[in-house]
Amino acid sequence: MSGTIIFIYLAFIGAGIFLCLLRMLKGPTASDRAVAVDTITTTVVALLVFLGFVFKRYVYLDVALVYSLLAFVGLVAIARFLEKGI
């Protein structure tokens, strides 16, 4: 995989994260923002595995696993709070 292709893929993923960030800024309710963070999390797990391939380190895959697990826990906590309401 050559350097140009790596840069194109990284640019696509970065642009996607930027679009989600725009939705998080605009979103009329808190649910919209939570959905945006959920989408960003999944995108970032793919990004972390891809960067591990770019840097050629096997240890970096563990970070992706821990990241997806903990973001899942945080999102479920937010969803539980939204459900109970004020």
Binding site: L25, L51, V63
Partner: protein, 80 residues
């Protein structure tokens, strides 16, 4: 080449942090703060420090969010 991607992520983190300051709905502010620490974790990853990235993801995304949510539930949700 990498420096462009890193500066893009720094910019995103800055925008999310300013958003966390501005929002009047404190729940949205907590979600934005969660996102700031997620992007900080990616930046540590770029700087070749995977252990720090792991600690930042666990503390920032899970623990701090839960603590803030408990605090909001005890007080009130909307700032005036």
């Amino acid at each position: 080449m990498m420096i462009i991607v890193v500066s893009l992520f720094v910019l995103l983190m800055l925008v999310a942090a300013v958003a966390a300051l501005i929002f009047k709905d404190l729940m949205s502010a907590v979600i934005a703060a969660c996102m700031v620490s997620l992007i900080a974790s990616i930046l540590f990853y770029f700087l070749q420090a995977p252990d720090v990235a792991m600690a930042e993801a666990s503390i920032g995304a899970a623990l701090i969010t839960a603590v803030f949510i408990v605090a909001i539930r005890r007080t009130e949700r909307f700032e005036e």
